[in-house]
């Protein structure tokens, strides 16, 4: 019996990023929104399951950054066990997280965004892709592929060949690192460092051609939020939360991640499944903040590794206060790759890195656990409550793309104001909006269309809600 299954691309979770632009009575852009159909009910699905399944369960939220969820979830589970995990386990988890940072940033910069820089924002999408990069700058394409491969290779060496590794466990990690794997990892770092420095030099040069984009790409004052070490250096695994304002002043510091609820509120809007986190002391929606690479580099007093510190000093000299243009997310990503590689090297050279005691064994001892870590795209928060048998009774997850939701909408509004004339969407709008979204590297499935263009659907709406103009591809 033959059956035809039709899947409507718009209604599918993995579908188009749909954007609506709202005009007011005068025909002036009033609002712009990106509707993210990402599933919000994930927390509900976890209820009734045993807490120890959470790392594996939540890693399925996203096929692009399962590692980040494993880390945040693992930490929340450690809190439920009420243990401090063995030092070596912590270091291995750090390496795991940084390797993920390297590969994810490499994907974002080289595979997804470099076509825009290399071939121009207005180039035909048919050539504005990785294949186009291979043709115009083969070295760059090779570099990108190699760098990503090195990051992924490290993840595999640590956790085994798995799309969704189950190496992170409550209380530590499942297997120690072998001497052989350690050597292999160390050997791959010099090449990766070279690639990154080449890319930074190239980007600094190329950036100058994009002054218009720098001006208009989600370039507005906002707060920045993320983890830093106790002493204000770059941090992705542990540490304390810090908030800076657009002038670069620290307005909240040394926040225990367990207290996140006092600082981060979550608003819900009926038109999207993604929640809108905001900075509570300022309120909604004024308390807009950004997370991720740009935010992290705006927060810190230094990176903490020599090469990255040098690059960071130059980066911060771009603007007087915090660096505000979201276009610089790309630049920040490269600097973070540099840091990630240097830090992995340091950690691999620690004397106890091969230690075989890597898991603290305990049962559930506390009823509530919070795990906070920095994913490539920004701060990731896992928060669980369990009953006496260790079954999840309640869970809350705040994902990086969520934190950036308000900022992303504001960035699209900025572009819309620029590119909507009368009741029509002007040429170039699609490409710019696409590039604005790409700055934030949101973990929508659509942002992973490495070859080919991002599936987009933009609607221009009159004050009464009727569709005036529509573009899609």
């Amino acid at each position: 019996m033959a059956q035809t299954i039709t899947i409507d691309p718009i209604t599918r979770i993995e579908g188009h990023a749909k954007i609506t632009i709202q005009l007011d009575e005068q025909g002036i852009v009033r609002d712009a929104r990106i509707h993210i159909t990402q599933f919000r009910g994930f927390e509900k699905l976890c209820e009734g399951r045993r807490f120890s399944e959470m790392p594996a369960l939540t890693a399925r939220i996203c096929g692009i950054c399962p590692v980040s969820h494993l880390i945040a979830s693992g930490k929340a589970c450690d809190a439920l066990l009420a243990v401090r995990i063995p030092e070596t386990a912590e270091k291995l988890r750090r390496i795991f997280n940084l390797a993920q940072l390297v590969q994810s940033h490499a994907l974002s910069f080289f595979h997804l965004s470099s076509p825009d820089f290399l071939l121009g924002m207005d180039a035909d999408p048919a050539v504005r892709n990785l294949v186009g990069v291979i043709q115009t700058n083969p070295q760059m394409a090779r570099d990108g592929i190699r760098l990503r491969q090195i990051g992924q290779q490290m993840i595999e060496w640590l956790a085994g060949k798995r799309i969704h590794p189950s190496w992170i466990v409550p209380g530590g990690v499942a297997q120690p690192l072998s001497a052989e794997k350690r050597e292999q990892m160390l050997a791959s770092i010099p090449e990766a460092l070279d690639i990154t420095q080449r890319a930074i030099a190239w980007f600094k040069n190329t950036m100058t051609q994009f002054s218009e984009e720098i001006q208009t790409f989600a370039n507005f004052p906002s707060l920045f939020l993320g983890l830093v070490t106790e002493t204000g250096a770059l941090e992705h695994y542990d540490g304390v939360l810090r908030v800076v304002d657009s002038a670069g002043n620290v307005i909240a510091d040394k926040i225990d991640p367990d207290d996140y609820e006092h600082y981060i509120g979550e608003a819900v809007e009926p038109w999207t499944y993604l929640k809108f986190p905001y900075y509570k002391p300022i309120g909604y929606p004024e308390g807009v903040y950004r997370v991720g690479p740009l935010a992290r580099l705006n927060l810190i007093d230094r990176c903490g590794t020599p090469r990255a510190d040098e690059a960071w000093a130059e980066f911060r000299a771009l603007e007087r206060g915090a660096v505000l243009s979201s276009f610089y997310y790309h630049y920040a990503r490269l600097i973070e790759i540099l840091y990630g590689l240097e830090r992995i090297q340091q950690l691999l050279n620690e004397p106890d890195i091969l230690d075989t005691r890597v898991q603290a064994v305990a049962g559930p001892n506390r009823s509530e656990g919070i795990g906070v870590a920095e994913a490539p795209r920004g701060t990731l928060i896992h928060h669980y409550r369990i009953d006496k048998d260790g079954l999840i009774t309640w869970a809350n997850l705040i994902i990086a793309t969520g934190h950036n939701n308000l900022a992303m909408n504001r960035g699209i509004l900025q572009a819309a104001k620029h590119f909507v004339k009368g009741d029509q969407i002007q040429e170039g709008m699609l490409n710019r909006v696409e590039a604005v979204i790409r700055c934030f590297d949101p973990c929508l499935s659509c942002s992973t269309h490495a070859v080919g263009q991002m599936p987009l659907h933009i609607q221009l709406l009159s004050p009464t809600g009727e569709v005036l103009d529509e573009v899609r591809r």
């Binding site: 399951r49 045993r50 260790g390 079954l391």
Partner: protein, 239 residues
């Protein structure tokens, strides 16, 4: 005085084979390297013919019969791989999958599950009946083990091993038909069971992720099943 055991000759899939009169079609097939899929059956436990995966065709018999509980007979002609059987077996699996909540990708035994590998071996590509999505509890009250009813296929291996081998009879089945469920003692939380000796035999014989040990990462739970024939053999010898 012991009666001499008689030997029967028969054909399985056209091959001439022979077996003792007290042996089942499944046993004889296995001795001859002929594969018949099974789920509820486990060497060392009394066969019960519950899952119907081992159905075979016998010439001259209109019904399909389960190989695990059907004795061999002289002159039997058994077929194990017909089109019809394959279809029925896949249907049995589809019903098992639709009955409870099987989400392999996040299941504790993903990659080491007998139900899952049966589905692969028998080429079950999809479930054509609607899923029931029942709301079922997870009981994690036991110090070392968990029972997750979402993954149970009611094969009763746990019930049999606990009763026949361990002698504790902690497990049993309550309810009827689609509402059946395995229970510990008189449907108390497992952690409060007075008969459970925490030996872990049930966990090791469970073909799915329904019974598992705490503290191991997801999809890393390997089960040891070889111990059963060994245990029974040792007991028989003692007698």
């Amino acid at each position: 005085m012991n009666q001499p055991v008689r030997v029967k000759t028969l054909k399985i899939d056209g091959r001439d084979v022979s077996g003792r009169e007290d042996e089942t079609i499944l046993e004889v097939a296995r001795q001859n390297g002929i594969f018949i899929p099974t789920l509820c059956n486990l060497e060392g436990l009394t066969p019960i013919g519950a899952c119907r995966l081992c159905l075979v065709e016998i010439k001259g018999v209109s019904r399909l019969l389960p190989a695990c509980v059907t004795r061999v007979e002289e002159g039997m002609e058994v077929y194990t791989q017909s089109e019809r059987l394959q279809k029925y077996r896949r249907m049995v699996l589809e019903l098992l999958f639709s009955e409870r909540n099987h989400i392999c990708s996040v299941c504790v035994v993903n990659g080491h599950c007998e139900l899952q590998s049966m589905a692969q071996i028998l080429g079950m590509t999809h479930v054509s009946v609607p899923y029931r999505f029942p709301r079922l509890p997870v009981d994690a009250s036991h110090e070392r083990f968990v029972v997750d009813h979402n993954r149970c296929i009611l094969c009763t291996r746990c019930v049999r091993v606990c009763d026949e081998i361990e002698g504790a009879h902690t497990w049993d089945v309550m309810g009827r038909g689609i509402d059946s469920r395995v229970i510990t003692d008189l449907n108390q939380p497992w952690g409060e069971s007075e008969t459970c000796t925490s030996c872990g035999k049930c966990v090791n014989v469970c073909p799915t992720g329904a019974l598992f040990e705490k503290g191991k990462p997801v999809s890393e739970r390997l089960k040891k099943r070889q111990f059963l024939p060994y245990l029974t053999m040792m007991r028989e010898e003692r007698r």
